[in-house]
């Protein structure tokens, strides 16, 4: 029973990270209908910037802020420079551009900071069954999700962003600067991705450190339904708990397979995710 509680707490903390990553994917998918496969690479660069800033100044939280800021900037730049030029092409073009960016940034990280792992500190004390770091992961992701929800639901900016994402033509007619809103969405999402990476990376940072985390994050997003931010959060917790139980009771090497099993089980019952709205199709 003790073990079960441990695994549940651990899974919830990991799930928060997957949920944050899934949330960042869903925000972008809702805005531009693109799954941003470059998300882990953008977050990776943000983490490396935090590593450098913390190393230079000796302050962890300065690095943390730098990472979020870097995420914000890189997300905006990616949308402006790359995604916008393929926006009117087939969906595959955007996917391929983000995959290309993933390769470039991962390689660039290896070139600048070498492929060797560097030690990377936890935000807080990480010892114990439910450490301060675990609590921090849950609280920070929860806060970020609440802020995003409040932004979309209660502010004029959020209203414009929703309008730009769902009815771009009508929004443009009503005077919303659609392009700027999409860029804002990408920036916001990449900052959340950077937050997820800052929580996921410790104790070591290396160019491939986020690969598995990203697969779990995209699993969470797909399981929850790419069109639903609450689905992303629920999917993240589901995947985090599921993987924690499988790792704890059956062995950590089975986690990737368990992730696949969760994905197949959910999608064969509901092909558009657990929380997808029923879709109408035009014949």
């Amino acid at each position: 029973m003790d073990r079960f509680v441990d695994l549940t707490l651990n899974g919830a903390a990991n799930g928060a990270v997957y949920a944050a990553l899934a949330l960042s994917l869903v925000i972008i998918y809702q805005a531009t209908r693109v799954v941003n496969f470059a998300q882990p690479a953008l977050a990776l660069i943000a983490v490396y910037i935090a590593y450098s800033v913390s190393g230079l100044t000796g302050r962890y939280w300065l690095g943390f802020a730098a990472a979020l800021l870097a995420g914000l900037l890189m997300g905006a730049l990616t949308e402006r420079l790359l995604i916008r030029s393929v926006h009117d092409r087939s969906p595959l073009s955007a996917v391929i551009v983000t995959l290309g960016l993933l390769l470039v940034l991962q390689g660039a990280a290896g070139m600048i900071w070498t492929n060797e792992p560097h030690s990377f500190p936890y935000p807080m004390d990480f010892r114990g069954r439910f450490s301060a770091s675990d609590a921090f992961a849950l609280v920070s992701v929860g806060t970020a999700a609440a802020l995003v929800f409040a932004l979309y639901r209660f502010t004029p900016l959020g209203l414009r962003m929703r309008a730009a994402a769902h009815r771009p033509e009508a929004a443009r007619v009503a005077g919303v600067r659609v392009g700027l809103m999409l860029t804002t969405g990408w920036a916001l999402a990449s900052a959340i991705g950077a937050l997820a990476a800052m929580l996921a990376v410790p104790p070591f940072v290396s160019p491939n450190v986020l690969d598995a985390v990203f697969v779990y994050g995209i699993t969470a997003a797909v399981v929850g339904g790419l069109d639903n931010p609450f689905g992303a959060l629920a999917g993240g917790v589901l995947v985090g708990l599921g993987l924690s139980y499988v790792s704890g009771y059956a062995g950590p090497e089975l986690a990737p397979l368990a992730c696949l099993a969760i994905l197949v089980a959910v999608l064969s019952a509901r092909p558009a995710g657990l929380f997808a709205a029923p879709s109408a199709r035009k014949v």
Binding site: G107, V222, L260
Partner: protein
């Protein structure tokens, strides 16, 4: 009510005028059955590859063989993504299945000849394709991409889970037979293996080209362009998608088998996410519209890495730059190709050939 116009009697109906009688070699060539044409092309390609292998050293022979199996894997992906419109990010998983099937067959049943091993690999990959294609046939776009991504990451962990059977993290090592004794004096092992790989690859490509020009290919393109219209026209959409997956899985499995046969090993670390993504990158680079794209993609996959390494050494760049140069180049090419030439190298070649033909 007007009586319907009298219909002409059956014997009055003339057959529609057929195409004009073929004139010249080019036209006569187009009347030869498709399979025969593809076989002739494949035989010509095999002859060219054999000449190339005979003329170069062992290192280049191995690279040429690597181009062979890469071309096959990318061609399989072309059928899946280009023709049937299903984006798979996990094709490395089928190469994993192929490589481990051959490794297990060689180790457990050493008396079987290579061609039997390859046939069994095709059967196993086809079964895997039915399972994966069947499970994912209802998924669209990003959901399919996510599922195949999880497959590519999840499957290699099987090898770590079952170390007694699949060798754990170190994988399986095995030795394959080289040239038959009668030829051993004139043909090196590498040359024999490269020839065997290209023979397999070209045979598989012939099947693939013939199928994708035939009824199944037309159905796949119809399903890709408009699933509803295809269903209304009586095409079984789900079954066509699964068929595309099976075809593509067979190519991936066979390519993995060829890789295992060449290297004599099957390790989980060679079937990473990066492999699956670079297969897709190579396909986009070569051009998704045609099987010819796979040729350019396969060559780029092998030689870009070689050239990047040579260039880095020539410029005496640091190791961390050298190690990461190929992946950065691949990413850059991917972005540039999509932004400037979405139809890839094959599109550029086709345009150039068209310009030459018009100029004449």
């Amino acid at each position: 009510m007007a009586s319907p116009a009298p219909r002409p009697a059956a014997d009055e109906v003339r057959p529609p005028a057929g195409p004009p009688a073929p004139v010249g070699t080019r036209a006569r060539w187009s009347t030869v059955p498709l399979v025969v044409r593809h076989l002739v092309l494949a035989a010509g390609a095999l002859a060219a590859v054999l000449l190339l292998i005979a003329a170069t050293d062992t290192v280049n022979t191995m690279r040429i063989a690597a181009v062979g199996y890469s071309v096959l894997a990318i061609a399989g992906l072309q059928v899946l993504i280009g023709a049937s419109g299903q984006v798979s990010l996990g094709h490395g998983a089928f190469m994993f299945i192929g490589a481990y099937t051959v490794a297990l067959l060689v180790i457990r049943l050493p008396m079987l000849p290579l061609w039997v091993n390859l046939l069994i690999t095709v059967a196993v990959s086809a079964a895997a394709g039915v399972v994966v294609g069947g499970a994912t046939a209802r998924l669209h776009g990003p959901y399919l991409a996510g599922a195949t991504l999880a497959l590519a990451v999840g499957l290699p962990s099987l090898a770590v889970r079952f170390p007694e059977l699949l060798g754990g993290g170190n994988g399986l090592a095995f030795t394959t037979r080289g040239a038959p004794p009668a030829l051993a004096a004139t043909v090196s092992t590498a040359q024999w293996q490269a020839a065997a790989v290209w023979f397999t690859v070209l045979l598989a490509l012939t099947v693939l080209a013939t199928v994708s020009r035939g009824r199944l290919g037309r159905r796949m393109r119809a399903v890709r362009d408009d699933p509803l219209a295809a269903a209304a026209a009586g095409i079984p959409v789900g079954r066509t998608k699964v068929a595309a997956f099976v075809l593509s899985a067979c190519c991936g499995g066979l390519a993995g088998a060829c890789q295992g046969y060449l290297l004599g090993t099957a390790t989980p670390s060679s079937f990473t996410l990066a492999l699956s993504l670079s297969l897709l990158a190579a396909l986009v680079f070569g051009g998704m519209g045609s099987l010819w794209g796979a040729l350019w993609g396969g060559a780029a996959l092998v030689y870009l890495e070689v050239w990047a390494e040579d260039a880095a050494h020539a410029l005496s760049l640091g190791t961390s730059v050298t190690n990461n140069l190929p992946i950065v180049l691949f990413g850059l090419i991917l972005i540039v190709v999509v932004l400037l030439r979405p139809d890839g190298v094959h599109g550029a070649v086709r345009d150039a050939a068209g310009a030459v033909r018009r100029a004449r």
